[in-house]
Amino acid sequence: EPEVTQTPSHQVTQMGQEVILRCVPISNHLYFYWYRQILGQKVEFLVSFYNNEISEKSEIFDDQFSVERPDGSNFTLKIRSTKLEDSAMYFCASSPTGSTEAFFGQGTRLTVV
C-alpha cells in the first residue's frame, strides 16, 4: 500500500541552525501539507501546497519557514534559523485531487537545543 514517508525520523539541531525536513508524498497525490504538533498539544496546520505553490499558510508559517517541491517527488520544509519553540513533531500529509482523505507520514521529531 502506498504511503507517505518522512526523513529523518528524529533530528536534533542547535538553536539558530537551518533544518530541512523531507517528505515523499504518495505518487499520484497533488495536494501536500505540513502540520506541526508540539509535545502534548494538538496538531496544527502549517501550510498547504498545490500546483507548485503555497495555497494557504497559517500564522505560524512565518518568514522562517519555506516549502519546496524540488524534483517532482520530494516535498521539503525548511526552517531557516531554528528556535527552541520550533521543537515539535512535524507531519507531512498528501491527498489526491478531489479526495478528502489526507494520508500522513510517520512524522519527524525535531528537537532544538
Partner: protein, 115 residues
Amino acid sequence: AQTVTQSQPEMSVQEAETVTLSCTYDTSENNYYLFWYKQPPSRQMILVIRQEAYKQQNATENRFSVNFQKAAKSFSLKISDSQLGDTAMYFCAFMNPFGNEKLTFGTGTRLTIIP
C-alpha cells in the same frame, strides 16, 4: 474560522467494553467533512473514520461508528468491543473542502484500554 472542541482530555475503559468520545465543532459552512484520527504511541496519524456533512447516515467502519448530529454540530466516535490496540490519542478534525482541504484538529482525547 472553524473550531473543534474535544472536552474529554482522558478516558479509560475496560477491554471489550464500549466507549464514546465526544467532539463538537463550530462552522458557518453547510458542506464539510469530519474525521477521527488515531495517534498511537508510534505518533503516526491514522484515519479511523470520516463523515460527509451532506450524508445523513452515520459512518461506520467495523467496530468504529459515529453519531453525527449536524444541527447540534456534534460528532462523537463510538468504539465497540474495545481492544488493547485501541489505546491511543484520538483527534477529531474538520475540513472545509473549499478551503484547500486543510484539517482543523481538536485537542485530542487520550484513550486507555484497561486489560
